[in-house]
Amino acid sequence: MGIRERLSGNEAVAYAMKQINPDVMGAFPITPSTEIPQYFSQYVANGEVDTEFVAVESEHSAMSCCIGAQAAGGRAVTATSSCGLALMWEMLYVAASCRLPITLACINRALTGPININCDHSDSMGARDFGWIQLYAENNQEAYDNFCMAMRIGEHRDVRLPVMTCQDGFITSHAIENIELIETEVVKTFVGAYEPEHFLLKKENNLSIGPYDSAAYYMEHKYQQADAMRAAKQVIQEVAKDFAIISGREYGFFEEYQMQDAERAIVIIGSAAGTAKHAINELRAQGEKVGMIKLRVFRPFPAEELVAALAGLQVVAIMDRADSFSTNGGPLFSETRSACYGMYGAPPMVNFIYGLGGRDVRVDDILFVYQQLEEIQDTGTTGDTYRYLGLRS
């Protein structure tokens, strides 16, 4: 039962890739995701996998390579970060629109301007409306587990959508943590073979993909994608249920931490949830009714489930590790608050933009957020809903 190891988040994902042994990897190095294709190319060189490793000249080509491979009938993977993901923009949209279930390990890093190599979610949040499923991890274990589940979700007949598994650059990608790996044979059986019904190299039937859509057809195809995203909600839950059987680890759309009797809560994505858990433990020890929701699945957005989980709270802070510059809050805030509109007794919500460009988020910072929530609770005044955490002013 399980292999106890200590690995960095990048090693964990590369190891999952090795266990799955995909047909093609098209990848281009970029900090902090570079280690994934680096480790993986060692597996290729050592003959531990029989994957075709394509060393491309840019991320645009990396995604193009994956599109071609997946359309041909293969299983394609890649890894990238920040501007690398941004350079894929055009092809990310093509991959989802062609309904090709490619798997991408996104190691979250700030987008350039000014240049910065550290963690925030501006890269994957920028790609949130491209039709990709997005799973986020708090730690190395979750990064590994999400990657193991990704293909079963994306390749499901009712879904056929690419999947992006995200983890925090450096914070989890480079930090070595204890991890429990699953035996390779068990992973292989769990993931199964990729068996698309139609693919370019299938000699029994001719196939054209990506033809021109005139105005008379385009909307029908977009709605199919939206419908597939809806179907993915069910599939994500089914796959998690099967995964719990082989791993003993259970995953939902989000994790609820100390939410049973909570009055004040935060909604957060990624590694800062670990810091928040520590802060919550401190506050709980003092009798404070505080809790947290850590979102794992951002696309599809689990609106109904989130609304149900937020019901009964007195005040909520939504934590965004990316700004959208809308002046109306970050992406998680906009979506969560929108989901709660019309909810009976919806709690007041404020948005904290935090940790941009790798800015440290310490226990004290999270305690400050709960203190702000207490103030809102006591005064009944929400104040400015769009706030920056730890900004010098």
Binding site: S97, N206, D213, E220, D227
Partner: protein, 102 residues
């Protein structure tokens, strides 16, 4: 998801019946699609003047000049774009070219 033959895909088809991502599961399906509807100029074929030299057939970019038993037939106007290349190569004035009246 539906794997609809190309012949059944038309502007009345619903999102449930149209093939996913616009995939096409057969070859040569362009023959089913009216691509001649945006033509502005149009060639006309004179059977009396034509010597069936076949110079026009290979230069047509849309394969819109059908040939049967060694003789060319009238244009396939469902696919002809009115480019006029056939009119330029004809040595016998068997093809005239002018603005299409619609």
């Amino acid at each position: 998801m539906s794997y609809t033959p190309a012949a059944n895909i038309n502007e009345q088809i619903t999102w449930k019946d149209i093939s996913p991502a616009g995939e096409i599961y057969e070859s040569g399906t362009a023959v089913l699609v009216n691509t001649g509807d945006w033509r502005i100029m149009v060639p006309a074929f004179s059977e009396e003047k034509c010597r069936h030299c076949m110079l026009c057939v290979p230069v047509c970019p849309d394969s819109s000049i059908p040939v049967q038993d060694g003789k060319r037939l009238d244009f396939d106007f469902m696919h002809c774009k009115g480019c006029g290349v056939c009119y330029k190569v004809c040595p016998f004035d068997a093809i005239t070219f002018g603005k299409e009246e619609k």
